[in-house]
Symmetry: C2
Subunit: 470 residues, 2 copies
């Protein structure tokens, strides 16, 4: 899937907005200028401006042309680099159980949700795919799938990700029950009970719970809200102590939104190769990029088979289908055996539907729309937070994904804030869910995966008031 | 689901055949006699005889009435009680990989197969169920299901199994990715690496592989081909040493076909309660009974919450749907957490389809037909083995399931036999796959899950010749 002409124009103007070389209210180049500068047709130039307008980055004024939108102006600074204090063992389960238990019941505005809203997913097309799959599969999907997973699905994944520089074939992949099982199988393959892994901090709580359930110690590393794990810290930990695996969410990390630059990915891969430490890469958000190109994976820089690249369609297409995968590299035999022993294989039919969605280009088409919507959301949500939250707030500025990390005044306890917010029918994820060190008590994770509307804006305003009343 | 009138008549006559009080060629009571004896209508009596005829147990002769069929006569004796030698650690993986690798490729007659043939499954009805599920589910099944599993599915399972004496509600169940994940979650919940579990011998190899992958030692117990695990042996092991869990396939055990009598189940439950040892009960074959009533589960005798009852629809309805379940009893919280940490939840849509299949009575209807076919198959396959295999062979006589355990002359090595058979396009499961003690080398497991036809008969004849040439 190569970058289309209009996408390059969109990406360039986005970059100017991000760098502030294009300020709110500034006039944009005329369509004619764009045509000349990029050597494109008027139609292509218009398509680019339509996209930018749909994202809310620019607006057209009758008889005056296009202008950078006003509302993107005010922004809070991004959070500082995290400073985890070492290995911790606080239990995060209680608050997690509360947040997700409440969410199921309450009908609250689900800022704590870990997936994009259903309205953003291609429900009807997937349903058609299901019917097609009952016809294309021998036995309509009643038979056991191969342990390694649907062959066509594996080939389609290999082809799809080939464009982002990841050379692989279907044979290099193992299909899993979502990305979580990919992480579970990978950890079981490369670690032993009592071992130690290194992760970003803050980090998705599911990773902490999984590690604890496997009897692993977790070292949390300082992490930058834009560039991800601090490479010096990573180097120090892999070179100075016995680490059984690193587990990094390389692109649009949950909850920080950070994306490791290529140079960091390359260096991380060099380090883990040098010290022979497997790197489990969780790349579940990589497809939701707002720039021109998909960010590369650490896996694309690896030639040693030590990077176990894990992903799924759960955050972009069909959470309930439970289709994920891993490239187990050197650990292929162990991972396939573990899959067989613990669950035999995944559901047959949902794998076939996803294979078809990839093969026909429907996934690529859907992702273009999803990215546009989520990018616009990210700016609108961040704009509203800048407007309604108290001064001193810091907000991440993710270039992909659907999650904001919000750092509030140090004296705010977001577990208490959670209780006040849920009474107002607003569900947030308190920051201390994302560490075993009882840190980030003044932070919250906010999803911008719900379509922007007045309700969302009012909920953010109310949340800002609750914080201010703090 | 109560026993219908005709089913009682069928069961009584089956029992007479089994006990040899009705011998091949014997004339059966006239329909009029049946009507009087059971106080039923002529239609019901006819229905019973039709069923017995469909099973191949009786045949009608024009103007003479009904007679017990000839071909059920010759039968080999059942295998002796197994005598495992203690704890073993042989690797069973190599031969398993070979058998199932070959099966995928070869197109051989799959006597080694672990599921009934597709022809016996209600493919079209399940496909309709899928379309219905896309309509009944909010989000057409794209959203994450509850970690514990689809609420309606859990309620329907509770209702369905209530009839077999198992009092439970949907709240007592956790849905898993097939029965294998139910066993995996259960073992992870009640054991620690380095612990010990007690199982039947021979035992399904997947249980041995799972236990080894979790770092558990396995004690194999002597087991009777009709009555299952020897209760004295079970008592000795739970009373004299530290056992972390027992794992028993109580009904129509794979591969022996044994079914524990109620008194044994009751005693097993008393023992594990007395010594506080959790019992993981694999009851995946219990629905495929050939008698009048479903055999009870150990779980139905338990009031302590120590019996984790595991089952699925993989052996009766839809292997590729990956829908299984467990009643985790005392360990509910741990099992739900483990499910969440390792795979979050199962596929949403296949759970909804199975819920609908149970709710509408389609599952009960399908099972009636499946049982009839498999019962007839069991007699036909066993008859052919008696005809074509050498004297000295012993064959299990299962009262349910779809698997025969065949004990050959001691000097036959069935791994070598496997190689000769696969060259003739016949796939068998060598006996030593079912123990960690390199035992049962003179045994094979044969599935009778394929519809009986001339090809199957010829394959059994050829197999008999290969054994005789041994």
């Amino acid at each position: 899937m190569k970058t289309l002409l209009y996408e390059q124009i969109v990406a360039d103007i986005q970059a100017q907005v991000a760098s502030r070389s294009l300020r709110p209210g500034d006039k944009l180049p005329s369509l004619r200028t764009i045509c000349e500068r990029y050597n494109v047709s008027q139609t292509t130039a218009l398509q680019a401006y339509y996209h930018l307008e749909a994202k809310g980055l620019i607006e057209s004024r009758p008889r005056s042309g296009y202008f950078a939108s006003e509302w993107t102006d005010k922004r809070f600074p991004i959070p500082c680099v995290s400073a985890p204090s070492g290995a911790g063992a606080a239990s995060v389960n209680e608050v997690i159980t509360r947040v997700y238990g409440d969410m199921g019941r309450s009908g609250a505005v689900p800022f704590s949700m870990g997936m994009p809203a259903l309205e953003l997913l291609p429900v009807a097309k997937l349903n058609k795919g299901l019917v097609r799959a009952t016809r294309s599969l021998p036995g309509s999907g009643l038979e056991y799938e191969q342990v390694q997973g649907n062959g066509n699905l594996r080939n389609q994944i290999a082809r799809f990700y080939g464009r982002a520089g990841q050379g692989m074939t279907g044979e290099d992949l193992v299909i899993s029950n979502g990305c979580m099982e990919a992480l579970s199988l990978s950890l079981m393959a490369v670690t032993q009970r009592g071992g130690t892994i290194a992760v970003e901090s803050p980090v998705y709580f599911g990773i902490l719970q999984l590690a604890q359930s496997l009897g692993l110690k977790v070292i949390e590393l300082p992490t930058h809200a834009q560039t991800g794990v601090e490479i010096d810290a990573l180097k120090k930990v892999v070179s100075s102590q016995k680490i059984d695996a690193c587990l990094l969410v390389s692109n649009f990390n949950n909850p920080l939104g950070s994306c490791m630059p290529d140079a960091h990915k390359q260096e991380a891969v060099r380090l883990i190769q040098l010290y022979g430490v497997p790197l489990i890469e969780d790349d579940i958000y990589g497809e939701v990029y707002f720039g021109a190109d998909r960010p590369r994976s650490c896996h694309s820089f690896d030639d040693s088979g030590l990077v176990l690249w894990c992903s799924s369609v759960s955050k972009t297409l069909a959470p309930g289908y439970r289709v994920g995968w891993v490239t187990p590299g050197k650990f292929k035999k162990q991972v396939i055996n573990l899959k067989l022993y613990h669950t035999i294989t995944g559901a047959t039919i949902t794998q076939e539907v996803i294979a078809g969605f990839l093969e026909t280009g429907r996934y690529a088409h859907h992702l273009r729309k999803l990215r546009q919507t989520l990018h616009a959301n990210s700016l609108r949500y961040a704009g509203a937070i800048a407007e309604y939250f108290p001064e001193g707030t810091r907000v991440s500025r993710p270039e992909g994904g659907f999650i904001l990390w919000v750092e509030l005044n140090q004296r705010i306890d977001t577990v208490a804030l959670y209780d006040r917010a849920i009474r107002q029918n607003i569900s947030i994820a308190p920051g201390n869910m994302f560490s075993l060190q009882d840190q980030y008590r003044n932070c919250i994770r906010l999803s911008y995966g719900m379509p922007w509307d007045k309700n969302i804006e009012m909920a953010l305003k109310k949340l800002g008031q609750l914080i201010a009343a703090g």
